[in-house]
């Protein structure tokens, strides 16, 4: 979920904490939350960015839109709302079956499920929404509907979806904002106006929206999970300024805040009223090397760089030990093999030096590194990188840029080294999307604008994404992971969690594995 969002000014979200997939990481286990959940109450959530549109098919402000959409709507399936696994679990569909050839999906709708305006969800609504999802004119991320052929009504509570080729990743793509289920009749009738006052099957419904300032949701009385949500009212209060969110939290003007900056981790930890909640998400610091530049075409150089970068030190000094040293060039995704199978690059200066000596550039070379301005983590990070790469003869010139400029330069291939997106997360928990992006050279994609072209790995990825069998996919991916790690076309500097913080009496603050929360389990202890 949530791709790079460009957040105003100096905010930053770099998350933290090496948690295992268990969600215990930040879930409040304080005494107050041991009791039975209490119904009622209202919650203010200080968020760093807010929605500019509630049209889930066409978000224009990244997480700002998506996090609001997640309260309002749901898809047929959803990412595990408690974040315990990276799997998809039932939502609007109570269950589904996949034909053995992987081409036909049959979804059985949840009996009695209703939209927040009280009208029942019908198979027609689902078909309408899936067609929306696959229409590039209507859905900004229709690329995620790759493989979709058609959807049809089987009966009032059953929908059939057929694919043109086995594309198991589509189920994960359908779990997120781009395939949420909306009422056909209302959308058809109201057109654009629908999105100003939308209805969905999420736990909350829209109450009041002051654009740019706050948005208030109230309980959806027709929500399908019995007894949920606990809260009567949720207000997302937007504050792009990190400091403001923290102050709001400390001041109890807000009870949860997202995007806790690294520099404030100690601050939050030392405040006895607050709980820091790191959540594991596919969030990473991806360093891009431009393959149009000769030195980076040399595998020895790329590997030397991997060995020269002391990720443990970076984790300690920049990310306060809360990151995870990656064993992939991509973020942490489903099917990833553990370190015992695919080893991370560990700091080894001697190895790095010998690789450089073996390369075409034994005396080193000079490159520029473009990095996003306004993020103190990045500033600290690039200084360390500069020093560490200097040790193997690579002279790095630092150039800070604002996000828009950096993205433009990146897409035009005008860079040597760059961090294309300051806040870089995968939309989905499975590797299909990013693996495809990073290996698709043709058609103007240039392998995610790295100009890396490796047909072998590309073929492995294509096979993987079109394998219907879950067990086969689980076998294939670690091989791709290892191959990419060996080739190291990108350098994943660090895997990071999302960092939220909440007041101690706020309980059940689960994030799904993509970092979004729908707050149906959240309650406030007395």
């Amino acid at each position: 979920m949530a791709l790079a969002t460009v957040v105003a000014s100096c905010s930053l979200v770099l998350g933290v904490v090496p948690i295992s997939a268990s969600a215990a990481g930040g879930i409040n286990t304080s005494a107050a939350c041991k009791g039975t959940p209490v119904k009622g109450g209202s919650l203010t959530y200080a968020r760093q960015t807010g929605p500019v549109t509630l049209n889930n098919f066409y978000p224009t402000n990244g997480n700002g839109d998506i996090f609001a959409d997640t309260l309002l709507y749901q898809g047929l399936v959803q990412p595990d709302p408690k974040g315990t696994t990276q799997n998809v679990v039932p939502a609007v569909a109570k269950s589904w079956t996949v034909s053995p050839d992987g081409l036909t999906y049959t979804f059985n709708l949840r009996p009695g499920i209703k939209f927040s305006n009280g009208t029942p969800v019908t198979a027609a609504d689902v078909v309408f929404s899936l067609n929306y999802f696959a229409n590039p004119k209507l859905d900004e991320t229709a690329v995620l509907a790759g493989g979709f052929k058609s959807a049809s009504v089987v009966n009032a509570s059953t929908v059939k979806m057929t694919l043109s080729a086995p594309t198991p990743g589509i189920l994960y793509n359908m779990s997120i904002f781009d395939a949420f289920i909306v009422p056909k009749a209302l959308v058809t009738k109201q057109g654009k106006a629908f999105w100003n006052n939308p209805v969905g099957t999420g736990p909350f419904k829209l109450s009041k929206w002051v654009r740019g300032s706050y948005i208030t949701f109230v309980r959806n009385p027709y929500y399908w999970e019995p007894g949920l949500p606990y809260l009567d009212k949720v207000t997302y209060q937007y504050a792009s300024n990190d400091n403001t969110r923290l102050l709001d939290l400390e001041n109890n003007q807000a009870q949860i805040a997202d995007g806790i900056p690294f520099t404030s981790v100690q601050n939050v930890k030392s405040n006895s009223n607050l709980t820091l909640q790191p959540a594991k998400v596919p969030y990473w610091v991806g360093l891009w090397m431009n393959f149009q530049r000769k030195p980076f075409q040399d595998l020895n150089v790329r590997k030397a760089m991997q060995y020269a970068i002391d990720k443990a030190t970076i984790n300690k000094t920049v990310f306060q030990g809360l990151g995870t040293i990656p064993n992939s060039v991509l973020p942490q995704l489903k099917y990833d093999a553990p370190n015992s199978v695919v080893k991370p690059y560990t700091f080894d200066l001697a190895m790095a030096k010998s690789l450089m000596a073996k390369s075409a550039y034994p005396k080193g070379f000079t490159v520029t590194l473009q990095y996003p301005s306004g993020y103190s983590e990045y500033t600290n990070l690039v200084l360390i990188l500069q020093a560490e790469l200097a040790a193997i003869g690579i002279t790095v010139k630092l150039v800070s840029m604002d996000q828009a400029t950096m993205t433009a330069q990146y897409m035009k291939g005008k860079y040597d080294l760059t961090f294309p997106y300051a806040e870089f997360t995968s939309d989905v928990t499975v590797p299909d999307e990013y693996a495809t992006f990073v290996t698709t050279y043709a058609g103007g994609g240039y392998s995610f604008f790295s100009w890396w072209n490796n047909p072998t790995i590309a073929k492995m990825v294509t096979t993987f994404t079109h394998t219907a069998s879950e067990s086969s996919r689980a076998v294939q991916w670690p091989k791709i992971q290892a191959a990419m790690m060996a080739q190291t076309p990108f350098i994943n500097i660090m895997d990071l969690p999302f960092l939220n913080a909440h007041r101690n009496n706020v309980c059940g603050t689960y994030l799904n594995p993509l970092g979004a929360d729908s707050l149906q389990y959240t309650w406030i202890a007395k």
Partner: protein, 285 residues
């Protein structure tokens, strides 16, 4: 704007006769800050970017006069170095803008005609253009950092001086001494630069005491927004911004550099004040 000449030149003459407490105090304050920042490498007790995590967020003490920040850098040392870069940049942008503006304005006022018309309209447009947008756009083009801010401020800043100089030149053109230089057969260039310019520069110099303060604030503001000085380099705005998150627990990181900024502004303003005897030139800011 023509009142300005009166507001300024008359008190200027008086100043030379009198001197005043404002000027004395102002000069002392600015001089102390300037000397301290120039001597930063000698008097700063620590390197400005030296991290000492063990001693982070220390309140002001004998070891750290202004305390330390969240990675244990000495705030006093950072303030000294920050002030140094800020003063340098502000002096350069203000007086470069002044020089450009005065020259363009003087020439425009002197030669008149289409050149004057164009300069006048361009200056008016730049003045009407929201300053901050201009600076933001230039930063977006040049890239974040002091360079972008400086270019932005100069692009916006010359216009007021040009307008000032132009209107004074128009008035001065009719004055006998300039007409007489013409009668004596001096060239235009000589007439402008030898005779008119020194008179015009005086007004602009007085106005620049306001401009210096404003530019200092803009510079700090941009650094605060993350668009000016890039970490780890220190300037007052970025030090203030870096302490924001610790306002409750470590007030000194934000408040003391802010106070130094205020002190500098106060010093410069007092000098300007002494010259104008408390009468702000119109159109200031």
């Amino acid at each position: 704007m023509s009142d300005l000449a009166h507001l300024v030149t008359v008190p200027w003459r008086r100043l030379r006769a009198l001197g005043s407490w404002e000027i004395t105090t102002g000069i002392v304050v600015v001089a102390v800050l300037m000397i301290a920042s120039l001597l930063a490498p000698l008097i700063a007790p620590y390197p400005p970017n030296q991290i000492d995590v063990l001693h982070s967020l220390q309140p002001p003490s004998w070891h750290h006069w202004m305390g330390t920040d969240f990675v244990g850098r000495d705030v006093w040392s950072r303030v000294l170095y920050g002030l140094r870069i800020d003063m340098l940049v502000v002096a350069v942008i203000t007086y470069l803008g002044l020089a450009i503006g005065v020259i363009v304005g003087t020439v425009a006022g002197y030669v008149g005609g289409w050149f004057d018309a164009i300069v006048g309209r361009v200056a008016d447009t730049v003045i009407a253009f929201p300053f901050i947008v201009l600076v933001l756009a230039v930063i977006a083009i040049v890239g974040p950092g002091l360079k972008g801010v400086a270019i932005g401020i100069i692009i916006a800043g010359w216009a007021l001086y040009a307008r000032l100089a132009r209107s004074e030149m128009l008035a001065m053109r009719e004055q006998p001494f300039l007409m007489s230089t013409k009668a004596l057969g001096y060239s235009h260039v000589r007439a402008i630069f030898r005779h008119a310019l020194p008179n015009l520069v005086r007004t602009s110099l007085v106005y620049s005491t306001v401009d210096v303060v404003v530019n200092m604030l803009v510079l700090a503001g941009m650094s605060y927004l993350g668009l000016g000085q890039q970490a780890p380099g220190a300037d007052l705005g970025s030090i203030i911004a870096s302490g924001q998150g610790y306002l409750l627990s470590a007030w000194w990181i934000t408040t003391i550099p802010g106070a130094v900024l205020v002190l500098f502004g106060l010093g410069v303003s007092l000098i300007g004040d002494g010259i104008t005897r408390g009468d702000l030139p119109q159109g200031a800011l």
